[in-house]
């Protein structure tokens, strides 16, 4: 069993190899059964995550966007090993999680998560420093050192230890609590931080502060981020690469500017088009995306997006497009972008 340090040994000079994938997810599938009927049999499945394959490179921020119900949070929990996948593998720096070389516990000291609900994420009966110090003590750090580390981290996230260490979560504001959650996540000295809608519940001004804090921390501690959000502006600000999810699958993934500037998937374009514009000369007049996303219990055949896509054709309704490269560091799952798919832009809806 390798230790955390051994897993993350880079080459002998101590400098990390450029763009080496830190986390690799392959074929992740998670279906939740719906039980009903006389004997509680699973009559249907919610296909929350239906075949996810992507990589996160060392030192980057990967943004994940999508509407409610697209599977982002489930994916986050799968990556944190809080729920077990039905199929698929996760590898950290080339080692299978839960395999012979990398135990789940060691993995957990390397990958941490910040949740959306800042209040529910903290034990109301523990002091702030107690909450932060818990993780390190689980991994063997003596209590005094854990408290010392907790106080140091509090200072680092901008909360004066003298004033905050001995307090309780209900006495603090949402922004302060989220800083504490970040400090708690960092207490285990992880390499990868998953931020699941971490700033979504905060006021805008507070959100800005926390985002800037995250950027500072990333540089200082050489972290890698997975940033999940439904707020497209924020994701653009924070991310190096962005992944767009739809109904449990990847619609498009690539460098931020490639996606935001020249996206190759109608869903991405619709999402971007629905962002409200601050420019009075370019008002958003019409909602480009109509209807609710179809049910993850019975995804439509063929391309999952075809029911809401203005460019959908018979091909789209029949065959599901695969994720394919459409540029340097840019992949998309759409027939239109694939010259070999046989897509003909004939039946356009008004």
């Amino acid at each position: 069993m390798l230790t955390a340090n051994e897993i993350l040994e880079w080459d002998t000079e101590g400098t990390p190899a450029p763009a080496k994938p830190l986390l690799v997810v392959e074929g992740l599938v998670k279906h939740f059964p719906i039980r009903s009927g006389l004997f509680g049999r699973a009559t249907a499945h919610v296909r929350a995550v239906d075949g996810l394959t992507f990589a996160v490179n060392h030192g980057e921020t990967l943004g994940i966007v999508g509407e409610s119900g697209c599977g982002k949070s489930t994916a986050a929990r799968l990556m944190m090993q809080l729920i077990a996948p039905d199929r698929g593998t996760i590898q950290l720096n080339g080692h299978d999680v839960g395999g012979p070389e990398l135990s789940v516990k060691t993995y957990r000291s390397q990958v941490q998560m910040v949740f959306q609900d800042s209040y529910a994420s903290l034990n109301p009966r523990l002091t702030i420093e107690g909450s932060i110090a818990f993780g390190p003590t689980v991994h063997g750090l003596p209590h005094d050192e854990a408290i010392a580390r907790a106080r140091s981290l509090l200072d680092r996230v901008g909360l004066e230890p003298k004033r905050f260490a001995g307090r309780y979560p209900h006495e603090l504001s949402g922004g302060q609590r989220q800083r504490i959650n970040i400090a708690r996540a960092l207490a285990l000295q992880p390499k990868l931080l998953i931020l699941d809608e971490a700033v979504s519940a905060l006021d805008k001004s507070v959100e800005a502060q926390v985002l800037n804090l995250l950027l500072d921390l990333k540089d200082e501690f050489d972290l890698t981020y997975i940033f999940i959000s439904h707020d497209l502006e924020v994701v653009r600000f924070m991310s190096d690469r962005v992944m767009v999810m739809y109904l449990g699958r990847i619609a498009e993934i690539g460098a931020t500017e490639a996606l935001y500037g020249a996206s190759e998937h109608p869903y991405t374009r619709a999402l971007l088009g629905s962002m409200l514009s601050m420019d009075p000369d370019r008002r958003t007049m019409k909602a480009p995306l109509t209807g609710d996303p179809p049910n993850p219990i019975n995804p439509p055949p063929g391309c999952r997006f075809h029911t809401r896509c203005a460019s959908a054709t018979g091909l789209c309704r029949a065959i599901e497009p695969k994720l394919m490269s459409c540029g340097p560091d840019h992949e998309t799952a759409c027939h239109m972008a694939d010259p070999a798919s046989g897509y003909i832009a004939v039946e356009l809806r008004p």
Partner: protein, 296 residues
Amino acid sequence: MAVTSLDTASIAEPVLRSPSYSATVWRRFRRDKVAMIAGMVVLALILMAVFAPWIVPDDPYKGMSLRRLKPVGTPGFILGTDELGRDMLSRLIMGARLSLFMGVTPVFIALFIGGVIGIVAGYAGGWLNTILMRTIDVFFAFPSVLLAIALSGALGAGIANGLISLTIVFVPPIARIAESVTTGIRARDFIEAARASGANAITIIRQHVLGNVLGPIFVYAMSLIAVSMILASGLSFLGLGVKPPEPEWGLMLNTLRTALYTQPLLCALPGLMIFITSIAFNMLTDGLRSAMDLKA
């Protein structure tokens, strides 16, 4: 990553400490006059029970037929004498021992047993939860009085058997509450965060679950004490439970029934003690519950 941004001296500095949850509850409780009075009554009763052998004016076991059923206010026997000529005041004071003991002990034992079952079932979930809780449900099919009496009737009279039957009666409701509260806590994000830190189930239960769960369970158990006392005395009243000549309020009610028409006031005294104790415990529990409900 090095812990150097703060030097060790300032880390060791005293830190502003907010009052803990228990301190806050105590402070709120102290402000509730009714609850404080109830608490003092309970304390007085407990002290009376503990020091009974030393504070009784007369021997509670010594009876003389000559002076049986003397009314309240007889000089020398302020509260009269019972049907065997024993001093009522002494019997009442001494009776506090057994009555309180039979009332409180089953609840505490059930708190432990039911608490463990409920917390384990609540945290584990899945098939373990189902098995445990369905078994508990079978006991819920019996109204508690019926179960207590049936068990006592089957096992026979006596203090030990009474304790056993009452404990069995109280384990299911406590287990249910414990399971319900634990399941609620289990679903909260901070438990997920604790799991994400790599802690195992025992550590999480110890550090995160217990602190949040013991409060409500304890308050619920306390609310059962009054019921337990009435039930325990009821068992003695029926002839199960405590056997004569031990002084116990319920038993005394039973043996004094024959004097219902001749010395009514005398008859009512033991029941009055049960009533006072029961009200005091109930108000104490109500006050505690209010104090623990931080949102109110």
